[in-house]
Symmetry: C2
């Protein structure tokens, strides 16, 4: 009814996370109605990103610069590498402005269920980076899930095994507990019991 080009555009949009078939249809129509002000600029923005953005060979972040702006920034601390599952986590941490070291994107988590083993993650480059004398701490900022914690333990073991008498590493994880502003009764039992066990004097 709307022609194959429009149908195809709706299908492409419907694959985006957060857009179902219904909102994809609305988005397609929004774009078609605003050819010069929305459709063509979005097409150009996508083409620019497709042409210029690549994963950083150092950390795995996405950027037009190589190495990425975070790896290249001389003001950041070379002594700490924060290991994340994915680029979204890196961006989330950057938005907090709470971390000023370097990052390393694993590109996934170990999962027996999904058949994801160590060889599927960007581990060799992490071990290589962690071996540099300047590096003192590795923060494993991985999700508080079975896969996340399995991966964290695996990496911690590999890092410890690679230590030499001249170079030892602190390996840390994120604190688990009640999210700031979070109501207790919305929390799952695991988080709540972990928050209780890790209780601190006030």
């Amino acid at each position: 009814m709307a022609g194959p080009e429009i149908e195809h555009l709706m299908q492409m949009l419907a694959r985006l996370p957060g857009l179902g078939p219904r909102s994809a249809r609305r988005a397609a129509l929004y774009l078609i109605k605003r050819r010069e002000s929305a459709l063509e600029p979005l097409a150009a923005a996508l083409a620019q990103v497709a042409e210029r953005v690549r994963p950083c060979p150092q950390c795995g972040n996405f950027d037009t610069a190589s190495p990425c702006s975070l790896c290249a920034d001389p003001r950041r601390d070379d002594g700490v590498i924060c290991v994340v599952e994915d680029v979204d986590d890196l961006w989330a941490l950057e938005r907090t402005r709470a971390f000023s070291g370097r990052y390393h994107v694993l590109g996934g988590l170990l999962s027996a269920l999904d058949g994801i083993g160590p060889e599927d993650l960007h581990l060799p480059r992490l071990l290589e980076r962690a071996g540099q004398p300047v590096v003192q701490e590795i923060i494993l900022a991985l999700p508080a899930t079975i896969e996340g914690q399995t991966t964290a333990h695996y990496i911690a073991d590999r890092l410890k095994a690679a230590e030499t008498p001249d170079h030892s590493l602190r390996v840390s994880g994120l604190a688990h507990g009640v999210p700031v502003g979070g109501e207790l009764d919305y929390l799952d039992d695991g988080t709540l019991s972990q928050a209780l066990r890790a209780r601190r004097p006030v």
Copy 2:
């Protein structure tokens, strides 16, 4: 942090209806991670639509063909024109498969508040089309809002004024009432009272 190209893409995506800043970020990352399988195909689909899709000079539908496939389809009934506010409404009606006549997209509704007058709608072409001897009925499929009903009354008056002794038109509107499958208590009072006034023997 993510580079100006990615930030720009996120901003473009965040303007789409149904995508907020957060889902625009997820959508951008989804695309960047899948350059060949999602990003480039979406850019190509947008470019295709930008290049080939135009409003139909006859009815206002969007299509690559001109006149559009609905206007050109010889199996559709020339005797009835269904007037809709926008192309989304045309698509919604087409999905029902309940109508097999022609369409006319107004491109808006009269609104004193938004300063939208008759000259802002695609009215001259509608009056011209309605004047063709073959046309017997005009269905005003406009929203059951003040603007929608004001517009419907305005168009009905213009159509009646243009009638000749040789050519009279039936002008109808959509029935209002309880949506099929709709719970009564989710309906606004206007719909409910209108459904009550228009009650029918069962």
